[in-house]
Symmetry: C2
């Protein structure tokens, strides 16, 4: 099937975005060689309005600090993390971010929300910045992802339609109760 | 910085790919709504030559079966999985794939290969098909990723330079001893 510019096609949760988008570019960073956190921090520092982060595991001091600075600059910052990971890991930044007045949601997977044992994981690892930058990949926001794991992190710039799709998924997660 | 077509720039492990690539398109699938395995199976079935898979966790009967069929059609199939996940999970497909004559490598993270406790995870979740299709995202090749977790899966088509970059990373992993 030939891609069409900006066509949103297929099932509700399946989006087709054409590369013909005038400026959209994708960059790939690989851990542990790439020091990928550098690219996330840079994009957080360049953000102007909004930072939406949905990651299974968030333990990175560096990335948490960058979000706190963005919050202090007046940006809207929202963070979704996995409920079980957060509750079982002392290094999870959930509490720290809340103390810094960043709203945090802790979620389990979307199935069987009333039966914890059957629930899956909130296993996302993405961020949407200013409705036009998207990070995703295998990379959680952890020290291990940056320094000792094998990981890939993708960065999309000027990715309007793709960013809107990820932002819509973020909003659905944010509105979920558990 | 303005993207340039097909420019490979920056540090060794950081690639800039312009969207201007004539046909490259990216599709995003979200679990559990999207039944994302459908898209992986379809691309495996359409493959002609080569399937390279590097995923932290591989427990999906459906995806393992699709790889076995591709192997029987004569394609080159190689799979890298995380050593610890494979050894600790009865449902891991490592052994099954080997019995089906698909070469499998079990790796830990790249740091401290001789000190298991300090090693990280082989946490990748990507596949490269025929040097032009790339899958990546948070999605492991598991039943949970498809049915109960919140996940995202990206599919790039006609993604020559990006596919080559992921393929190069795959080859480095494949050649690693542990």
């Amino acid at each position: 099937m030939k891609p069409l510019p900006f066509l949103i096609a297929g099932a509700i949760f399946f989006t087709l975005i054409a590369s013909a988008s005038a400026d959209m570019a994708v960059e790939a960073c690989f851990s542990p060689q790439g020091k990928c956190s550098t690219h996330i921090v840079r994009e957080i520092e360049n953000a102007r309005r909004e930072l939406l982060v949905a990651v299974y595991a968030f333990t990175s001091d560096e990335l948490a600090g960058a979000l706190v600075q963005a919050k202090k600059r007046g940006l809207m910052v929202q963070v979704i993390i996995d409920r079980e990971f957060d509750s079982r890991n002392d290094k999870s930044k959930g509490k720290f971010l809340e103390v810094q007045r960043i709203p945090v949601r802790r979620l389990s997977g979307s199935k069987a929300p009333n039966a914890a044992r059957e629930a899956g994981l909130m296993h996302q690892k993405f961020a949407v910045i200013d409705r036009r930058v998207v990070f995703t990949g295998s990379y959680n926001w952890t020290h291990a992802a940056d320094s000792s794991n094998d990981e890939n992190l993708l960065l999309f710039r000027d990715a309007g339609p793709l960013a809107e799709e990820y932002r819509r998924i973020f909003e659905r997660l944010w509105e979920r109760k558990s």
